[in-house]
């Protein structure tokens, strides 16, 4: 079965999440930092009146915090309630959170369609990422696409 992934880069690592989990991709990055918040929290973003917690997914995966650049983006994810509204036919294995969350990434990559048979189990200890956060990898001509288990990475 074919699956579509929204891909993005964290420190040149090509990552992907199920496109159905994505609500929108935002380039407005006026993020208010919150003193005293956990390190992986980048801050809060006002998205048309809704407050979104922006997660520095890089920190969560064990890398350094990202520096904002003109290509930085915020991937806003659907909430669990929004996912529940998707038609039954959409098979989603992932979970998100009950509140609005955004992922802070270096830049956005292509939308990629692959057959789910191409997804391989992640090698143990892949790139020093906690294997809890990995769902699989896809071997591609140019690079390796890392599919994240985003629900796991978002749980506090």
């Amino acid at each position: 079965m074919e699956k579509q992934f929204t891909t993005f880069y964290i420190d040149e690592m090509h990552c992907g999440i199920d496109i159905l989990l994505v609500k929108e991709i935002n380039r407005q990055l006026e993020i208010s930092e919150v003193a005293g918040a956990p390190v992986f929290i980048r801050g809060l973003l006002n998205l048309r009146g809704q407050i979104i917690t922006v997660i520095d997914i890089s920190v969560r995966l064990g890398f350094a915090a990202r520096k904002p650049t003109p290509r930085s983006r915020c991937i806003v994810l659907k909430t669990t309630a929004e996912l529940a509204q998707l038609p039954q036919s959409a098979e989603i294995e992932e979970e998100t959170t009950s509140e609005m969350v955004g992922l802070f990434v270096d830049r956005i990559g292509d939308m990629i369609t692959v057959d789910d048979r191409e997804i391989q189990a992640p090698p143990a200890n892949f790139g020093n990422i906690d294997s809890r956060y990995l769902s699989g990898v896809i071997q591609r001509e140019a690079d390796l696409l890392v599919i994240l288990k985003i629900g796991e990475a978002l749980s506090c």
Binding site: E30, E33, V34, G36, A37, G49, I51, T53, S98
Partner: protein, 1095 residues
């Protein structure tokens, strides 16, 4: 069960719960009325229980059905007068209501719930109280002799009775087939369904199965007779079913002879009362309501919040635009001026250029075209600017309108969430009743203002704390009838529960006329549990002492009852109320009762807040937490802020306030904005650490010229400039206060509170988020959380040491307040009297002096007053000249004062210098002071007057025949010590002085004294504690104690007297003090009087 069924069940549960709400107060009312059974009330209860029974029977939830059936049976007997209402019955029914409520909470699990006990209890009632009573509706049968027989259905009256629910009317329907079926587009089955929807079919002829089979199109006319029970009125039923009047007849059951009868339509078949009861609720249902999901309302609220936000942003944008337009106008003017100028230059240069002289005409044309071009440019520019400006007024108006509508919209939506507080209040009659029974008390609860509305979320949170307070009232507040009667009160205690609006807040008062709070026991308990120390306890006001009851771990109930008094609760009450942004105030009079006042905001969603910033980040501080704002100028920081154990404290009105830096607490880098507007890290270690400005300017601008450097040096040090002032928010957490240092203060704003993301669950210093006018997200600070995060413990060393410091400070202040009035007496000598002893200063002309013998008198306040010239009594120089006018200093705190002549009033000075008693001595002199003004002789007015009038002193001594009285004087302030010492000695007492309370206590053990005279405010051991120790010690418990005080408020007075002093007197009031000593000693004839020194 399908989803639709679930939805219906949910609906049913909600409805049933509402029914239960109605049942409870009615049951209580029923109990109150006792024997006088009001059928109206019974019917209401009956209907409610019945609907529950019917509804759940349909869903096959047998437990609910069975229990409600049992209750219904009992009620039926009551209604029919077969059973009398007893408290046992009310108990059983209320228990049933409780059980039903429990089962409704989880209807699907209700089958697993045991209801046997409840049912048995109810059935027992039936058996015990069952009397052979007249059948149900005998009355009706007599009233309607011509009722139509319903025998044809072959039912007995009992059978019919069994099937009719209370409140239902019985009708005899004659339905024509096909006219009423096919003619109205329905078949037999549909008819039965619609009938079943609004009532019960008791019996039918032909049987229901046959009717159901009718298509409604049958050729053969037939009449269907149905015995039908419904709560509907006859007219309404007929209309609903599409029947003519005659087809629908009220039926009545004749109990005797087992036959049923019909009565013609329109005649009431039940007692008038019952019918009235049926109709009454219908009127109440007139208010149109609609059930809306709370989540929907929440969404609406959120949207309205966003709208408010949008409006705020728009307003800001508009303001920016207006200001930019204004600055454009200014630049237009500059531009115009520039053009005119360039044109001039162009003209003159064209005309002055010799090469162009010949071509004047051409030039003129050129100039003209340049002018035209310039004019055009100017016009275009004006136009574009004007366009900007012209549009503005309209927009402002629109904006105002949007503003208004938005606010109204928000308010209206907020109102949808408002619920009457009755939702909480209605629980209390029951609670009070149960408790009164259990505790053997009589309690009358009066509820007022149950229609006051509050936000749903507030109401939900309010339930528990309020219940707790009410229970407390009943348990601890109201005494048992015996105690009450003994105290001369009514046997029943009154609890008054009232809600009302005041100053934008909802106030809830819980007032009882019970025993009141035992403040002493509360304080005692607080001390024994270590909440406060004895020293702290002594400093508490009555209010503060009462507020102790709100601290965790305090319960003053002598017996821990199962009702309350487990030592938890009151603090939970406070926490809950404060969580709502409210406040708890306790006021109590022993023996009279207690009044607890809760102040609550109407809603939680929008709160007024102060916007502040620190480290470039914006925060909102809810106004409810704010006490005041303090700004400390840079140059005052050293004086006002000090450090105790490395913790900065602010001295605010003699109280020490612990200070917290917001940036530090939040773990932010400490920064400051330098003179160039650049944010730089702050290197100082503490608030009062000032590093020289040179260290931080080193790398700032190495290319600065020498002159600039000089300029900088001439500026005050950077930290003393106004921007370095400290902004301190004084925040309250319960009864504690602390200061939060922030960088900048902005406006007060109404902010829309948005919940905090769960990622921040460990950040206790925030209680929510909000979106500011500029669209940025700001955190809302939680005063309690910050105090906690900064590990601020109010009862620890800081507070204790703070109290001591404050005390020391007060003493210093008092010493400073030893103001002296300096004057001269026509010579170079300087004299001083304590300003506290000066009533006034009069300017007198020599001519107004009257001489009587050798004495001089003036007229002062309509009576004559002797005046003294110092050189007559003191070893001082005689004035060289006698001026025409001079001053008379009139002392106070002495009886029959004499005026002291002065020729020049020099100054009033404040000094804390100790008076030197050695250098200059003599009658009428305390000592000397060497100050900047020179050597000053400080006068002792008492001994001066005695010297001037020896008889007066004698008279006094004669009055108090206590010469040789051994007095221990405890006074820490040197000046007062000397003065009081002097005047006690002057009347012949033996005076021993102690420099403070502790010393006095030690001296008491060493020597023998007849009287203790003590100051109140002293370091270490204050006068009150000293007195308490004296009273507690067996050896001195009878020693008379007189307290001296300089400041006296009503509360001080009470505290002083409570400590056990015999009397208190104002310092420096010699006459009164001596008199008081006389009185106190006289009142203790048992005291062994000192050896009388003469008389």
């Amino acid at each position: 069960m399908s989803a639709t069924d679930d939805a219906i069940l949910d609906e049913l549960i909600i409805e049933s719960k509402e029914h239960l709400e109605k049942i409870e107060p009615n049951l209580l009312a029923l109990e109150k009325e006792g024997g006088m059974v009001s059928s109206e009330i019974i019917n209401t209860i009956f209907r409610a229980i019945h609907s529950i029974k019917g509804g759940f029977g349909f869903y096959g939830l047998k437990n609910i059905q069975a229990l409600s059936h049992a209750m219904e049976s009992v009620l039926m007997q009551v209604r029919d007068g077969k059973l009398a209402i007893t408290p046992t019955m009310t108990d059983a029914l209320l228990a049933g209501v409780d059980k039903l409520r429990l089962m409704l909470d989880d209807a699907k699990a209700s089958e697993t719930c045991s209801i046997e006990a409840d049912c048995n209890r109810l059935l027992q009632l039936l058996q015990d109280g069952a009397l052979p009573a007249p059948p149900v509706v005998e009355k009706n049968a007599q009233e309607s002799p011509d009722a139509v027989s319903v025998d044809r259905f072959g039912l007995t009256a009992e059978q019919i009775c069994d099937r009719i629910r209370n409140g239902q009317h019985l009708y005899h329907l004659s339905i024509l087939c096909p006219a009423d079926l096919g003619g109205r587009n329905r078949n037999g089955a549909q008819l039965l369904t619609s009938l079943a929807e609004i009532g019960d079919i008791i019996a039918a002829d032909p049987p229901q199965a046959d009717i159901a089979a009718l298509t409604g199109e049958e050729e053969q006319p037939a009449t269907l007779t149905i015995l039908y029970a419904t709560v509907l009125d006859q007219d309404f039923l007929a209309k609903t079913m599409g029947l003519a009047d005659g087809q629908c007849v009220t039926a009545s059951i004749a109990a005797h002879g087992k036959k049923a009868q019909e009565v013609p339509a329109g005649q009431p078949q039940e007692s008038g009362e019952a019918t009235a009861a049926l109709r009454k609720p219908k009127k109440q249902e007139k208010v149109e309501t609609i059930r809306v999901k709370v989540s929907l309302l929440n969404n609406l609220m959120a949207l309205a919040g966003e709208l408010v936000l949008g409006r705020n942003q728009m307003k800001q944008a508009l303001n920016r635009k207006i200001s930019s337009a204004l600055s454009s106008t200014a630049s237009l003017k500059r531009f115009e001026a520039g053009l005119v100028n360039s044109r001039k230059v162009l003209h003159s240069s064209l005309q002055s250029d010799p090469r162009l002289k010949d071509e004047n005409k051409k030039n003129d044309r050129l100039l003209a075209s340049v002018d035209r071009e310039l004019g055009q440019i100017l016009n275009n520019f004006r136009y574009s600017l004007g366009f900007n400006l012209i549009d503005m007024p309209g927009i402002s108006g629109l904006m105002q309108n949007v503003d208004l509508v938005t606010s109204k919209l928000q308010n209206t939506i907020m109102n949808t969430r408002m619920q009457p507080i009755d939702a909480v209040f209605s629980k209390f009659p029951r609670i009070i009743r149960d408790m009164a029974k259990k505790l053997g008390k009589e309690i009358q609860l009066t509820v007022e203002g149950s229609d006051v509305e509050l936000d749903k979320s507030v109401i939900e949170t309010l339930g528990d704390p309020l219940t707790h307070l009410i229970r407390n009232c009943a348990d601890h507040g109201i005494e048992t009838p015996e105690v009450r009667i003994a105290a001369g009160k009514t046997s029943f205690g009154k609890i008054f529960l009232r809600a009302h609006h005041e100053a934008g807040l909802v106030n809830i008062d819980i007032i009882d006329d019970g025993a009141g709070l035992d403040v002493e026991r509360i304080v005692e308990k607080a001390i024994s549990t270590g909440c406060i120390t004895r020293e702290e306890a002594a400093m508490l006001t009555e209010q503060e002492a009462m507020a102790l009851i709100l601290t965790p771990g305090l319960s003053t109930a002598k017996v821990v009852s199962d009702v309350s008094g487990r030592g938890v609760g009151m603090d939970v009450v406070r926490t809950n109320i404060e969580k709502l942004g409210g406040e708890v105030v306790i006021d109590s009079t022993p023996g009279k009762g207690t009044r607890i006042n809760l102040k609550l905001p109407l809603t939680l969603a929008i709160i007024p807040s102060l916007i502040i910033s620190t480290g470039g980040r914006t925060f909102a501080v809810p106004q409810v937490n704010m006490e005041e704002l303090v700004r400390i100028r840079a140059q005052d920081i050293d004086a006002k802020i000090e450090e105790i154990q490395n913790n900065p404290v602010l001295r605010l009105r003699n109280k020490l306030l612990p200070l917290i830096r917001l940036d530090e607490t939040l773990g932010m880098e400490r920064t400051f904005v330098d003179s160039k507007g650049v944010r730089r890290p702050d290197l100082r270690q503490g608030i009062i650490d000032r590093r020289g400005s040179s260290t931080d300017s080193d790398d700032e601008n190495p290319t600065e010229t020498e002159k600039e450097m000089q300029d900088r040096r001439q500026l005050p040090p950077r930290r003393e400039r106004s921007s370095n002032a400290l902004n301190i928010l004084v925040l309250k957490v319960g009864t504690d206060r602390y200061g939060l240092i922030v960088e900048r203060l902005f406006d007060n704003e109404e902010i829309v509170v948005k919940p905090l993301s769960s990622y921040f669950s460990n950040c206790h210093f925030y209680c929510g988020t909000t979106i500011m006018g500029d669209g940025r997200v700001a955190m809302i600070l939680d005063a309690a959380g910050i105090a906690e995060a900064a590990r601020l413990r109010f009862t620890d060393a800081i507070k204790k040491e703070g109290a001591l410091q404050a005390d020391r400070f007060q003493r210093e202040a008092m010493r400073e307040s030893q103001s002296l009035l300096l004057f001269r007496n026509g010579t170079g000598e300087l004299f001083a009297v304590n300003l506290a002893m000066v009533a006034r200063i009069e300017k007198i002309h020599t001519s107004s002096i009257r001489q009587i013998g050798s004495l001089e008198y003036i007229t002062h306040e309509d009576s004559s007053m002797r005046i003294l010239r110092l050189h007559h009594f003191l070893p001082v120089q005689e004035p060289t000249a006698t001026p025409e006018t001079f001053y008379v200093i009139i002392p106070k705190l002495v009886s029959d004062p004499m005026g002291i002549v002065a020729d020049k009033i020099v100054d009033i000075i404040a000094t804390s210098e100790e008076i030197n008693r050695k250098t200059i001595r003599g009658t009428g002199i305390i000592g000397s002071l060497l100050l900047a003004e020179g050597l000053i002789v400080v006068l002792n007015i008492y001994s001066l007057f005695e010297a001037a009038d020896p008889d007066r002193a004698k008279a006094e001594i004669a009055h108090v025949n206590l010469r040789g009285l051994r007095v221990l004087l405890a006074e820490d302030t040197g000046f007062f010590r000397t003065v009081i010492h002097n005047y006690l000695e002057s009347v012949g007492y033996e005076v021993t002085v102690a420099n403070d309370g502790l010393e006095a206590w030690e001296m008491l053990g060493q020597g023998e004294y007849d009287l203790l005279v003590t100051d109140i405010v002293m370091p270490g051991l204050d006068g009150i504690e000293l007195t308490e120790r004296v009273r507690d010690a067996a050896a001195f418990s009878h020693m008379p104690v007189i307290a001296l005080t300089s400041l006296m408020g009503e509360s001080d007075r009470a505290r002083i007297m409570a400590a056990g002093v015999d009397a208190y007197e104002t310092k420096l009031d010699r006459e009164h003090l001596l008199q008081t000593i006389g009185e106190v000693m006289a009142a203790r004839p048992d005291r062994h009087l000192p050896p009388a020194g003469g008389r």
